[in-house]
């Protein structure tokens, strides 16, 4: 009964995504608060756990405003276009693999659709959301929104390139585009096998979902709230939730691609979706940690970072992985040693070169 399975998974994914997005909103505020020596929201419910609910209720009661001279229909559609891809990403994310796991056994991978082009699907779908941002920026008839949307385009188009190139390394190592096969292929987590790829993917993805230090898109000190300056109420909430849904999506994808998804590291414990969720939180914590420490980069620096730093490094990474694939080294522990050393060397050398060049970053 395929359709029954689909319905069940749609429900699971919706419940998973929405509850995790709520949890992320709360966690972000609590964890960043802890980083800043304050407790964060702790008023509503036990330990502030109902804060997202209170926020949601408040935001739903707000008036839904459309700018008088804006493009009405585009303005209304934009949040939907921006939000929907965030949920679509989870369609191919495997929560648990085939076979026995912690607690129960499955006869096929626990994903809505284990697409054999899963990686491509994720890249394709996540590139859609920028259209929602552009629509919002355009339709708001607001200069901040327009500037934000233009930044969004520049950012998305630039970071897509190293992002995809770093995924190609994974695809070469695992020999498949299906996320489940990628997880299965990770007897050694790919973060060890391709540390450079992980770095590039993590930085690129941080930029793609507009999180610090690449949160230029919503640099509130510069362009107020960027493309959602003119949004309020429910429609603003969709942008807001969408952002966290992307953060969740990226955490999930990083866990799947680099951290071994639902597998416990080195197979010490049976596979389970619990490890997957734990890894998601770990990646998200990393993002929060970075966010609460680093200031924002400037737009030209960000573009330079994508094109002059990440892109060459991702090409190097690709070359390295391909060379290992065709040579006798393969993808074992020997490759781990070589890659870790080479990754550190490349990053240090290239970073020095990138940073010290006059006119690139230091004026």
């Amino acid at each position: 009964m395929d359709w029954l399975r689909w319905i069940i998974f749609v429900v699971i994914i919706l419940a998973f995504a929405l509850s995790f997005v709520m949890a992320f909103i709360l966690l972000e505020r609590r964890i960043v608060g802890k980083f800043q020596l304050r407790p964060g929201p702790n008023r509503v419910g036990p330990m502030g756990m109902l804060q997202p609910v209170a926020d949601a209720v408040k935001i739903l009661l707000k008036e839904d405003i459309t700018p008088a001279k804006g493009d009405r229909w585009v303005h209304r559609l934009a949040p939907i276009v921006a939000f929907a891809p965030a949920l679509l990403v989870f369609a191919v994310v495997p929560f648990q693999g085939k076979g026995p796991g912690l607690g129960f056994s499955l006869d096929q991978p626990a994903a809505l659709a284990d697409l054999n082009v899963g990686v491509l699907y994720i890249v394709a779908v996540s590139s859609i959301s920028v259209i929602g941002m552009i629509m919002a920026g355009w339709a708001s008839n607001n200069k901040y929104s327009l500037l934000g949307a233009m930044r969004a385009i520049a950012q998305m188009v630039s970071y897509e390139v190293p992002l995809v190139l770093s995924i190609v390394g994974i695809v070469i190592a695992s020999g498949s585009l299906s996320l489940n096969s990628i997880v299965e292929a990770q007897s050694i987590p790919f973060i060890l096998l391709q540390p450079l790829g992980f770095l590039i993917y993590f930085l690129g993805a941080t930029a793609e979902i507009n999180r610090a230090p690449f949160d230029l898109l919503e640099a509130e000190s510069e362009i107020v709230a960027s493309y959602h300056t003119e949004y309020s109420g429910m429609r603003f909430a969709m942008f807001f939730l969408g952002e966290y849904a992307y953060a969740l999506g990226v955490s999930a994808i990083v866990s799947v691609l680099f951290l071994g998804g639902y597998k416990f590291p080195f197979g010490l414990l049976p596979q389970s979706f619990i490890w997957f969720l734990a890894k998601i939180f770990l990646v998200f914590f990393l993002m929060l940690w970075v966010r609460s420490t680093l200031p924002r980069v400037r737009i030209d620096q960000m573009m330079a970072f994508a094109w002059k730093f990440l892109l060459p490094l991702s090409l190097v990474n690709l070359l390295l992985v391909a060379a290992e694939g065709v040579s006798t080294i393969g993808f074992g522990w020997a490759a781990v040693g070589i890659n870790v050393i080479l990754a550190i060397a490349f990053v240090v050398i290239w970073a020095n070169r990138f940073y010290r060049v006059k006119g690139v970053t230091v004026g």
């Binding site: 964890i31 980083f35 020596l37 407790p39 702790n42 036990p46 330990m47 940690w289 420490t293 970073a351």
Partner: protein, 199 residues
């Protein structure tokens, strides 16, 4: 100036290490206000002015010293040739609590209050006539320019000492270097509400 020769990325890593250290080791320094309160300064200029009709001779020095012209007094000659204030009115919505009236009063008849929670729903209710200006349990004078009150008030809690009182031998020796944890840890939900000091 930062040294350009230092290995790259170490600045970011140092910052990350510091925030992680704070995340893991440092207690929360904010005071959870409704549950915890810090004791104010003994000289607090709270959002109150307290008037003592017994001592007031209706000399109007306070009204003259007020930069805002905010104290309204109408006086009357008593049969015994002294004066009394028939009307003594202060608009608490307009005063800036500079304390000049308290400072200038020759008979210690007007004091700063030590209350700090005086929100109301209407501006009109902030205009206090003389009946409402007198000392009452919730309108206590503070020690501002009134050493006789100052001595009786509890010592201020200071964040320099981690939210403890400002004097006495109990003031803890300073651990060298940063930082002084301040305030108690926030109460977990459901924990009994803790009162630091008095309101």
């Amino acid at each position: 100036m930062a040294d350009a020769k230092k290995p790259l990325g170490q600045g970011i890593l140092k910052g990350l290490a510091l925030t992680l250290k704070h995340f893991l080791a440092r207690p929360i320094i904010t005071v959870q206000y409704p549950e915890q309160t810090l004791v104010h300064s003994r000289r607090l200029r709270g959002c109150d002015l307290v008037w003592d009709p017994e001592r007031c001779t209706a000399c109007c020095t306070c009204a003259k010293s007020c930069p805002q012209g905010n104290i309204r007094i109408e006086t009357r000659l008593r049969p015994d040739n002294t004066r009394e204030a028939v009307v003594f009115e202060i608009d608490h919505g307009r005063t800036m609590f500079c304390g000049l009236c308290v400072e200038s009063c020759p008979f210690d008849a007007i004091h700063m209050g030590k209350a700090s929670e005086r929100a109301t729903y209407s501006r009109e209710s902030l205009v206090l006539p003389k009946e409402k200006l007198t000392i009452s349990p919730e309108r206590q004078p503070s020690g501002y320019f009134r050493p006789q009150f100052e001595a009786e008030l509890p010592p201020q809690t200071l964040l320099v000492y981690g939210g403890r009182a400002s004097e006495g031998p109990a003031a803890p020796a300073a651990p060298a270097g940063p930082p002084a944890p301040a305030g108690a840890t926030p109460p977990a939900a459901g924990a009994p509400k803790e009162k630091v000091g008095v309101k």
